[in-house]
C-alpha cells in the first residue's frame, strides 16, 4: 500500500517527525488566531515558499493535494461575493489553504514508519489502560495487509454484478464484502492463537 510520503527526498525528510508535528500544531493554532487577510496571505506565501524548497515535482504533487478544497473555495467565493463580504471570504479561504498546505507538507515529508514511531510514543501512557504497542503495530499491519485484498474482492464482485446488469454496481455487494471481512477476521484470530496469542513479537505480515 503506497503512502502519501513523497518519493522526492527533501531536507524536510531528515527532520524528525516529532519536531515537524510539534511545529505544525503550533503554526496551525497560530493560523487560527490570525484574522486579517494580509497576515494570512503572508502565512500562505511562507508555506508556498516552504513547499517550493522541495523542487518542481514535489511542488506539483503538493498542489494536486490542494484540489480537494476547490468546491469549498468556490462556495466561499460565491457566498462572500454575493453578500459583499470579500475580506471575510478571503480570510477563510487563505486560512484553509495555508493550514491544508502545511499539514500536507508534513505528510509528504515524513515516512510512515517515523509517524508510527511518534504515534507509539504518544500512546505509551495508554499502556496502563491495557493497550500494548504490539497490539497497535499488529493492527496497523493487518489493515495494510487486508485493505487491498478486500478492495480486490469488491472489484471482482462489482464485475460479477456488471456481467449480469447494465446498471451501475448496486449496494448489495457490500454484504458479501462485509462477510469476507468477518471470515478473514476469524482466520487471522486463529493464526494469531496458533502462534501463541497476542504476546508474540512479529506481525502476521
Amino acid at each position: 500500500m503506497i503512502s502519501l510520503t513523497s518519493p522526492v527526498e527533501t531536507w524536510a525528510h531528515r527532520v524528525p517527525a516529532g519536531v515537524k508535528l510539534a511545529a505544525l500544531s503550533v503554526t496551525t493554532v497560530g493560523l487560527l488566531a490570525l484574522q486579517s487577510p494580509g497576515a494570512l496571505a503572508l502565512a500562505l506565501a511562507g508555506v508556498v515558499g516552504l513547499t517550493l524548497t522541495g523542487g518542481p515535482s514535489f511542488a506539483r504533487a503538493a498542489v494536486h493535494a490542494l484540489k480537494i478544497l476547490l468546491p469549498f473555495l468556490l462556495l466561499i467565493a460565491v457566498w462572500h461575493g454575493v453578500t459583499g463580504q470579500i475580506e471575510a471570504g478571503m480570510t477563510v479561504a487563505l486560512r484553509l489553504l495555508a493550514a491544508l498546505a502545511l499539514a500536507n507538507f508534513v505528510t509528504m515529508t515524513t515516512r510512515l514508519s517515523d509517524m508510527v514511531a511518534v504515534a507509539a510514543v504518544l500512546l505509551a501512557p495508554l499502556r496502563r489502560l491495557g493497550l500494548s504497542t504490539r497490539a497497535l503495530e499488529l493492527s496497523v499491519a493487518l489493515v495494510v495487509r487486508f485493505t487491498p485484498s478486500i478492495a480486490r474482492k469488491g472489484g471482482l464482485l462489482a464485475e460479477a454484478w456488471r456481467a449480469r446488469s447494465a446498471r451501475r454496481t448496486g449496494w448489495q455487494i457490500i454484504m458479501p464484502l462485509a462477510a469476507t471481512a468477518l471470515d478473514d477476521a476469524d482466520h487471522v484470530a486463529e493464526a494469531l492463537r496458533a502462534r501463541g496469542g497476542l504476546e508474540t513479537t512479529e506481525p502476521t505480515d
Binding site: 484553509l96 499539514a103 493492527s139 478486500i150 457490500i174 468477518l182
Partner: protein, 180 residues
C-alpha cells in the same frame, strides 16, 4: 482478545476498501461513496466499543499518511479541511450506533437502521456541521444549510446498513457481536 483485534483491524480495512471501490448507486440511481456505510456497519456489527475502535484505527492510519479516504485522500491534510467535523464524528457515530443496537433488543434490521440513522446521520452531521461552521466561519444554521443536500442519501444508506446487518446476522450469526 485475538478475535477482537482481528475484527477491529479487518473492519478498519473494510472502511478503507469501501473508499477504493468506485461509486455505488442507491435506490434512485444516485451515485454515492460507501465509506460512511462502513462506519455504520462497524457499529451495527461490532457493537459500540469495538466499532468505535475500528473507526479510530482507520482514522489513525489516515492521519499517519495512508490514502484511505474515498478518492485516495489522506494524511494530516485530511484533518485540515472543512469536512474535518465529519471525520471526528465518525468514531462517535459508530459508538452511538453500536450502543443502540446493543441495548435495543427488537428486530435487527429495523434496530440497525434506526441506530445507523441516529448515529450515522444525526450524531455524525452534528459533528460535521459544527466542524464546517468553525472552518468556514459561518453560523451553525448556515453550515447546516450547506450539507442538507447530502442528508437524503445518507438516510438511505442507514436503511441499507440495517438490511446488510440483518443479512450478515443470518449468514454469520456468531460474528455479529453487537447482539452477542
Amino acid at each position: 482478545m485475538e478475535r477482537n483485534l482481528a475484527l477491529i483491524a479487518l473492519f478498519a480495512a473494510l472502511i478503507a476498501a469501501l473508499g477504493l471501490i468506485p461509486k455505488f448507486t442507491l435506490a434512485f440511481g444516485v451515485p454515492i461513496t460507501a465509506q460512511s456505510m462502513g462506519v455504520m456497519l462497524c457499529g451495527t456489527v461490532l457493537g459500540a466499543r469495538r466499532g468505535a475502535l475500528a473507526v479510530l484505527l482507520f482514522l489513525a492510519l489516515v492521519a499517519l499518511g495512508l490514502p484511505l479516504l474515498a478518492g485516495g485522500r489522506g494524511g494530516l491534510g485530511a484533518f485540515a479541511t472543512p469536512s474535518v467535523g465529519f471525520l471526528i464524528g465518525f468514531p462517535v457515530a459508530a459508538f452511538v450506533t453500536g450502543l443502540i443496537v446493543e441495548r435495543w433488543r427488537a428486530g435487527l434490521a429495523s434496530v440497525a437502521a434506526v441506530a445507523s440513522l441516529v448515529g450515522g446521520v444525526v450524531v455524525l452531521y452534528a459533528f460535521g456541521v459544527v466542524g464546517m461552521s468553525l472552518m468556514l466561519d459561518k453560523s451553525i444554521p448556515q453550515a447546516a444549510l450547506l450539507v442538507t443536500a447530502f442528508i437524503p442519501g445518507d438516510v438511505i444508506k442507514a436503511i441499507l446498513a440495517g438490511l446488510i446487518t440483518a443479512g450478515l446476522a443470518k449468514s454469520r450469526p456468531s460474528s455479529v457481536l453487537s447482539r452477542g
